[in-house]
Symmetry: none
Subunit: 192 residues, 4 copies
């Protein structure tokens, strides 16, 4: 039954290009050429147009980042260490792409006006998902529920900003520094 590998490839290509150049700078034509996907299928799979593809791409990127976070949490005993690891992984991915692949959500999130409801909702949901995952881990590590949510927001914000600065400065330093700082901060708030 194979569930349309074409649709899948389109989302992958879109996720990659939207992340690197942004939503508006990427045309359908570029998408189908880069992904070697058939022209005629685009509107078959995404009747909602490029916006619908954007939502799918954001969701995929968000899921990938969620997976990275989950993996970091699973691989390390404490949340502070996991956050530091997350920053390290993000830094490596960024550097490996020639400082092109930053956050898979942030670029579209900033291009998106509140008018484009679906797209902004997808971005918002992405950030909330990451926060929720971290908040759960922090709560499990002993933080009060409310404080866990606050700390999670601080962590996601800081990592996002670090990714942004790192990409702009073509240096992994911001990510490293923020990773260290967050680890210290969190360690002071949650018991090992």
């Amino acid at each position: 039954m194979q569930e349309s590998t074409t649709r899948d490839r389109m989302i992958d290509t879109a996720a990659r290009l939207f992340r690197r150049r942004g939503f508006h700078a990427t045309s359908w034509r570029t998408l189908v050429e880069e992904g070697e996907t058939p022209w005629g299928s685009a509107h078959h799979h995404f009747p909602g147009g490029k916006e619908q593809l954007g939502v799918a791409a954001i969701e995929r990127g968000a899921a990938a980042m969620s997976a990275t976070i989950a993996a970091a949490l699973a691989a390390h005993r404490t949340v502070p260490e996991a956050v530091r690891a997350w920053c390290r992984v993000a830094a490596e991915a960024l550097a490996a792409s020639g400082f092109r692949d930053g956050c898979p959500v942030a670029t579209v999130a900033l291009e998106t006006t509140p008018e484009s409801k679906r797209l902004s909702a997808a971005c918002q949901a992405a950030f909330e998902g990451w926060c929720a995952a971290l908040a759960a881990a922090l709560h499990a590590a002993g933080a009060k529920r409310k404080r866990a949510g606050e700390l999670a927001t601080i962590v996601v914000a800081s990592v996002e900003g670090a990714l942004l600065l790192a990409r702009a400065s073509r240096s992994t330093a911001p990510l490293t520094l923020v990773g260290e700082q967050l680890a210290t901060t969190l360690a002071a708030e949650v018991a090992s």
Copy 2:
């Protein structure tokens, strides 16, 4: 001779629209219509095309943010308090714009590939300028030069990320939280 108010208005309009929707989502046509500037003068004032206008807009936005930082530093006795104030001011501006006006640089910074040298250089310079201002203040407050630079990077990254999250979630909470957290962190590192 009139010193070209047209050029000025074009940069203002561009700074506003690039910040809200991004570089590629904003067309020359929209720019001249919104700014009520004459079509034909665009190429005259910006022979380097939209990219040159983008650079000018980024520089103007960066300068405005620099002024905000400088004002906060001037108005408060300690750097931690100034940073908290910066976050508050940014939060107010964001909320006042209906959560549209985030960072004046970040949107373009993320849309920009390394291929667009001038634009990415302008974004990088903007971030570096803010970091330098904060680093100088932190150094003046007693931090070692190297650590001052690191802390400044952490601060800018965190505030940037908080702006991003705040805009996406249509809530000032991330800015408030990050402001508090940064104030605490900095207070622990620099003497009052």
Copy 3:
């Protein structure tokens, strides 16, 4: 499925206007307005841009001229008479168009720099095709192969120049004179 009459009409319009005003003086806008062809289809049918349309138009004009030559050769017993007839037909067409429709290739050929490979190749091929047709006829009439080629080149050059002068002077005299002269010259070289 309709076999794209639009594309055909575009080529026709282009052939007509390029011939009269030249390639660069004819805009896409003028082309679609004159030909009443849809704007949006232009890029579809000619992804290579105006140059590709130019090539198609040149080829069509060249084919038309080839047909004229072939008809003249078929309708007259000797090549000299056919050449004279060709000149007469060309003169009539020129005069009938108010001295606007000269050679369908020459205008573009002269505007074309060697940098525009495809366009100059199309023009060159057009001239070569006409020469080849005449050379074959002259060879069949008894001229040695090499001399036939030389005479063909002389004929095409002279007719081209006559068309140019006739158009510029708004008089058919150059074509008539050249036709007579060529007939005399050729008659002296090939047996009746």
Copy 4:
């Protein structure tokens, strides 16, 4: 008093570029950049716009060609030999320019519609001037006045066409062949 060398340089640049690429393909901007002439002077010297500059350029090109013809007539005892020499000189100039510099008038002449009165008049005058020079020489060599005019027209037409073909085919052969043929033809009509 120096009679404006700027104006002169503008005409020179225009003559060169119009000859190579045509009138419409050459912009004012290109003209002032190539000629390193001041922008602000363009409309001072040519209030009639680009068309007026075109007329001046055509006249200059026409005069240069007239000089070539006159020189050839002066340097050779008979008109046939002079015509052959003209073709040789033209062929050399064409080849030396990488087959870019064809006739200084033909390109503009073909781009020009009868609506552009001044420009077409200049082109017509150019051709007529060359014909008149040749006709005078042929008459002096013994041809009847009427026949001299006809032969001159044939010569100019043939040379023009040969230049056109030579430029298009990137070969001097058409000019050589036409030169020979014209010499033979003329020799048969005028006494030595």
